[in-house]
Amino acid sequence: MAECHPVGFQWVMEAKARGATVIHVDPRFSRTSALADLHVPLRAGTDIVLLGAIVNHVLSTGKDFRDYVLHYTNAATIVSEEFADTEDLDGIFSGLIADERRYDPASWSYAGAPTPAAAGARAWPTGARGGTAETDPTLSHPRCVFQILRRHFSRYTPEMVEEVCGIPREHFAKLCAALVENSGRERTTAFCYAVGWTQHTVGVQYIRTAAILQLLLGNIGRPGGGIIALRGHASIQGSTDIPTLFDLLPGYLPMPQAGAHDSLSAYVASFVPEKGYWADARAYTVSLLKAWWGDAARAENDFCFDYLPRLTGSHGTYETVLAQLAGECRGYFLVGENPAVGSANGRLQRLAMAKLDWLVVRDFSLIESATWWKDGPEIETGELSTEEIATEVFFFPAAAHTEKDGSFTNTQRMLQWHHAAVVPSGDRRSDLWFYYHLGRRIRDKLAGSTDERDRPVLDLTWDYPTHGPLEEPSAEAVLAEINGTDADGNPLASFGALAADGSTSCGCWIYAGVYAGGVNQAARRRPGREQGHLAPEWGWAWPANRRVLYNRASADPEGHPWSGRKALVWWDSDTGRWTGHDVPDFPATTPPGATPPEGARGAGALGGDDAFTMQADGKAWLFAPSGLVDGPLPAHYEPQDSPFANRLYAQLHNPVRQVLRRRESRYGPDPGAPGSEVFPYVATTYRLTEHHTAGGMSRWVPYLSELQPEMFCEVSPQLAAERGLTHGGYATIVSPRAAIEARVLVTERMRPLTVQGRPCHQVGLPYHFGPNGLVTGDAANELAGLSLDPNVHIQEVKAFTVDIVPGRRPRGPALLALVDDYQRRADLSDETGTAP
């Protein structure tokens, strides 16, 4: 966190100054480790074993926060008797359809009560709706979630942690003690994570394990608790709220699917639960359609629901690359993204772009993704030649955040407004300018068209006021549209006012209120010293300016804070309302002991202790009966490329991970298979403080470039000795797919671990470098393969196998020959490693 989020880390330092214990779990010793009280190095790709063993520790020592667990989680809920765990099936869950590489999740349901998820795969599970899940408040029923959890995690032991992660038992004991001692009524613990957890073939389940642990310890919905996703860019949170993701509409509404969702009603019925805030999703959807299509969206035309595009499958970034290679995707916008360096398997990215008809790149500088057609690595190897590439590449210089108005939404869901300081020079333009004027021009061209397919574009509310010499659209007008208006055209104060009858309009239901009273609430900058410790008047946090989600859980079932020290919201019996330091995340007048009336729905159906208001059962899910495609509980699987067998189960990999069968993206042999010795080391990629992601914002800036001026790799003195690597010299790093070179930093900060009785060496690779800019180097992501997490389609770049040898890599076609030679030695084919 110090390494990648130094500004946010100031608060960790402040907490440390007040006595907080800071523990850092990371394969390498980074700037964060340097400031932490305890650094726990582990083998990359094994965090589920570590976290699972802490879960086991908490459960087996009875250290869970029982009152919290009983009332606010689904610990007591009885699961279907159809369900079979990894314990029963040696590493797979019931419902696996191996030849289709997918699970049928039906058997994971609550007994007699299929329940849709609030996130992820949202569709209602099969089975009759309307049943009520049975519970066992004694937590002793063998099929209650609590007992399933106990059995599931029982094999995650300190011995296993030592064996799989390479963490000595005494380190593990310290970690457990610190967490347990710092959780409960009086104290809370927070987890911060970043892509070291997500970029795995089982990445979503890493976060699930942390969620289970935090729920067992009572650390969710309480001050100082939570699981904090450290984002990779300034507004990545914002770009999931108002998504750049293919499968979401604004406010986490699912994208409709072709065939299944032919009407608004069919769409809504497919995922909307009876209970909780999601029950009103029809109002959110209709208001969104009104925001986009205004007067054209009417009840009689289903509010233009037909105008929305439909999904025909998974269209994530890597599937798009494959579609480009197949000639199905012909045009590509790259906006502030440099996949030739930043995405896994850069070569495949460039080969795919070479098949496009046109490519638009909007960035500050001529990044690698804009110039690969004339000077990319494949030109050098002879795989591509400029004359034969038909792609037409357009480069549009972009304006920086200092040159445009807009908002950043941070990981805390807080929007902070920024104002343009200067007008962008030359041809530089904001993204808002680009898309607004592009849309305007397209609409001009289509004007007068009677073709039905042009209606969605022509009917759009595309009328933002512009200002200044560049005709910059008003970002505040966009914010006002996102906030939405009531039937009289007044700005909405909160999502509670949204209606399904078309009388309200709202571009993103969770953002309703950000423009309450016609005031840009995100631009508020009242200093913290002039207000309470939560500083509610600094910026604005969604939803409804709540600073801590699910904060009902900060009070006990009777509505009293768990402790005075950790008070956040509570029930005021005098006024009959929830009140407190934060905006209560609960129906304001539902008393703590309330039982919902028969037939109630939505927020009204929440019981007094249903603290998790987005969940269809009001409870936090220790066991996820739906929503995930790779299992209701986390299980450890080895990374796609791993030198070690799975000690937990017979099943080696996540059986439903996404893999390719392509020559450009071959995988390493299974551990122990012939040829596995060819790639004996674990590599992991990461960032440096001095650079930003794929380098577009830092490798062209001299003051940053000089601070980390060349691609390097980090290795331990032991690995350097084993391979004859010299400090400051060059090394060539070879994966099953590619070879790169890097300068060598030999450092004790990289520590060899003992895993399964033998040494495990790890190679650290910063991923910022590429061939363009002031400072250059081979891109680490050339080495990575396309094996993806099946839930979110993210690439596994945090753990893969390599060889490392002294000296520079060959140039030209000889580079391909080197990789071919490695593939021959390891006996790789397009099929290697692809079995479920």
Partner: protein, 289 residues
């Protein structure tokens, strides 16, 4: 002209025997409180934001793109083109400390010490180096003639001449920002308050408090560096809390103002000159006799 600048500052540092405020001794009739930096390296996270902010504000050029191999330090040291420099030291905790012998990664942001007795000021022949009303030491780049005397005079190796320019440059403690009532750029940007700016007396108290805190927590290796007015430079205007010997960070253990012996040298030279004159006279008058 304001009173603070009414009288031309004296060019030569005040005598080593003098105590008190260097701005007083320089001859400012009325001046502001002496300010400086307290750099608490125990909370430095090595982000180098200080280096970048310094260069951005002061228009300092980059220092070249070379991978040094010295851990994550690629600027190497202070120079005419680097006025804040973050050292990265991979070492082991002293056995006496808590966490006995553990690997540790020390990070420390170095800067001009703005010495009470500043040798650079003493040797500058053009008056380019001045003591400001804040008690800091600044090179006026429009006066500097590039003679370079100040470079070897600095006991810390802070000052450097800029290639292709020849003039000497160093930290100004953001003199322009101070005059506008702003914090120096590095202190403003430091996310963890490792770089603290303020009146020197306050900083010394804060440093003492922090030192006690660390020592009470068992960090026996914590120490202050450059805070002592009795040391060889009369105390630094920019001082540090270190977690190891100064040498570990590349700092001289016992810095002495290089012009300390100048009066004595001049006295010896005068004696020698007088001797030569006497000899010559003796010879001359001796022959007359």
């Amino acid at each position: 002209m304001t009173e603070t600048t009414a009288r031309a500052p004296r060019r030569v540092s005040f005598s080593l025997l003098e105590r008190g405020d260097p701005a007083d001794a320089t001859g400012y009739r009325a001046h502001l409180e002496r300010v400086g930096f307290f750099t608490d390296t125990s909370v430095c996270i090595g982000c180098k934001a200080c280096e970048v902010a310094c260069k951005e504000w002061n228009g300092v050029p980059d220092d070249g793109f070379r991978l040094t191999g010295m851990s994550f330090d690629n600027t190497g040291g202070l120079s005419g083109n680097t006025w804040r420099h973050v050292a990265f030291v991979e070492t082991h905790a002293p056995a006496a400390d808590a966490g006995d012998g553990e690997l540790r990664w020390l990070m420390a942001s170095d800067v001009c010490k703005h010495c009470t007795h500043a040798a650079c000021l003493d040797v500058c022949p053009t008056g380019a180096l001045i003591r400001t009303e804040f008690g800091t030491v600044v090179v006026q780049d429009d006066v500097c003639n590039g003679c370079g005397y100040c470079v070897p005079a600095c006991p810390f190796g802070v000052i450097g001449r800029r290639e292709h320019d020849g003039r000497a440059f160093k930290c100004t403690l953001c003199y322009d920002r101070l005059r506008a009532g702003m914090l120096p750029a590095c202190a403003q940007t430091c996310p963890t308050d490792s770089i603290q700016f303020g009146p020197l007396d306050d900083l010394r108290m804060r440093a003492e408090r922090r030192l006690r805190e660390l020592q009470d927590a068992g960090v026996s290796s914590a120490r202050l560096y450059g805070e002592d007015p009795e040391d060889g430079i009369g105390g630094a205007g920019a001082f540090f809390l270190l977690l190891d010997e100064p040498e570990v960070y590349g700092l001289p253990p016992d810095p002495v103002v290089t012009t300390r012996d100048l009066p004595c040298l001049w006295a010896h030279a005068a004696v020698a000159a007088a001797g030569l004159v006497a000899t010559a006279l003796t010879c001359f008058f001796g022959r007359r006799r």
